[in-house]
Symmetry: none
Subunit: 122 residues, 4 copies
């Protein structure tokens, strides 16, 4: 995993977890890799990995069974959707629109970019 300098590593691990859950690769009540496994997987110190786990536990996205490991919460998928949607609608979008106005970028140009990106993916 390659990290971006713009954000703490532990938050990038959190994002990585979010993706796994949103893509339903990790399902509710399923055990997720252990702290040590994640630390090795993404090549960071276990302490850094723990921060990501703890953070997600506070947000009730995952929970812990003592001595066994971490699990996706029963309503973990919903929790993630709620958190990300909120952030997207209240922070990302207003900022994007504000910039579009300032930079004189039209809605049409944006649509075009969207379609082009989707085409490239194929």
């Amino acid at each position: 995993m390659d990290f971006d300098n713009s954000k703490p590593i532990y938050l990038q691990i959190v994002d990585f977890f979010y993706e796994k859950i949103l893509e339903e690769e990790w399902k509710p009540n399923e055990r997720i890799p252990s702290v040590r496994e994640v630390a090795m997987m993404v090549e960071v110190n276990p302490n850094t990995a723990i921060r990501a786990f703890t953070h997600l536990q506070e947000l009730e996205v995952i929970y812990n069974k003592r001595g066994i490991g971490y699990f996706v919460a029963e309503d973990g998928l919903e929790a993630v959707l709620r958190i990300k949607r909120k952030a997207f609608l209240e922070q990302t979008l207003p900022d994007v629109f504000k910039q579009m106005n300032l930079l004189n970028i039209s809605l049409e140009a944006l649509e075009e970019a969207y379609k082009r990106m989707n085409d490239e993916k194929k």
Copy 2:
């Protein structure tokens, strides 16, 4: 001015400058407020204001006349447009589109939000 905890204050001041220039409130070769004035205006430590000025000078958006003050660069408006457009197209947009896919938000929903926001503004 109220600051957002997610971003360094000096960068938020930089954004404030960008807006002034993009809205052509501050025109090329015009003098802009002094470091002290800005510091008082937005209620920050002068050191923090200086960082914003220095940052913009490095990007050649503003320049300095010793003993007189800071001025918007001859091609300051173009510089800002270039910088912001690049950031928007290469970083903001791809991220937005990725999130739309993950969160199952359609292009139509986005257009709607855009129009709603523009209506509210009026």
Copy 3:
């Protein structure tokens, strides 16, 4: 049995045993359920159940007959009363009183809560 995350599971099993003995459901010199039975009953790893048994044996609340099982000690009820009373008077109560002072909760409020709880039970 549902466990509280704030306390080790084996100690919660110990508390469960204390209740059985205090309520005289398990009487002195009577055989108590086996490690395996307890483990199944409360759905934990047998190792965890063993810890509870060992802990109680060290406190001389229960004793073991090899090949037969565990039994409540002759003076098991007294032992439990002694242990719990001591803990209650020396640790629980002082802490409760300290909190009452800090939180401005009067003795009367506490009495009321006590009576309300007893009423609810009926």
Copy 4:
């Protein structure tokens, strides 16, 4: 400061902060000692102190001004009262009452202990 082995040190620091706020030694919007000062004061590693600060910030009891320090939240006192009262009423009290019933300790005995403690204090 002397720590108790029954609880993580960082949570004992949290409790220490709670007391300061409840006793109104630290008032809303007032700056509290820096991470390093606290670390020295209670003789722990700064990292351990940071945990306490971070924990309290998540609970919105304190907030942070970048580069300046931590401050008691505007409604920090209320937040603490809410948190502690809730814990006391929902966890401590039921447990205390349950033990009183099991140990055959009467309400009168408790009142007596309360008065005795208050007398000793004088």
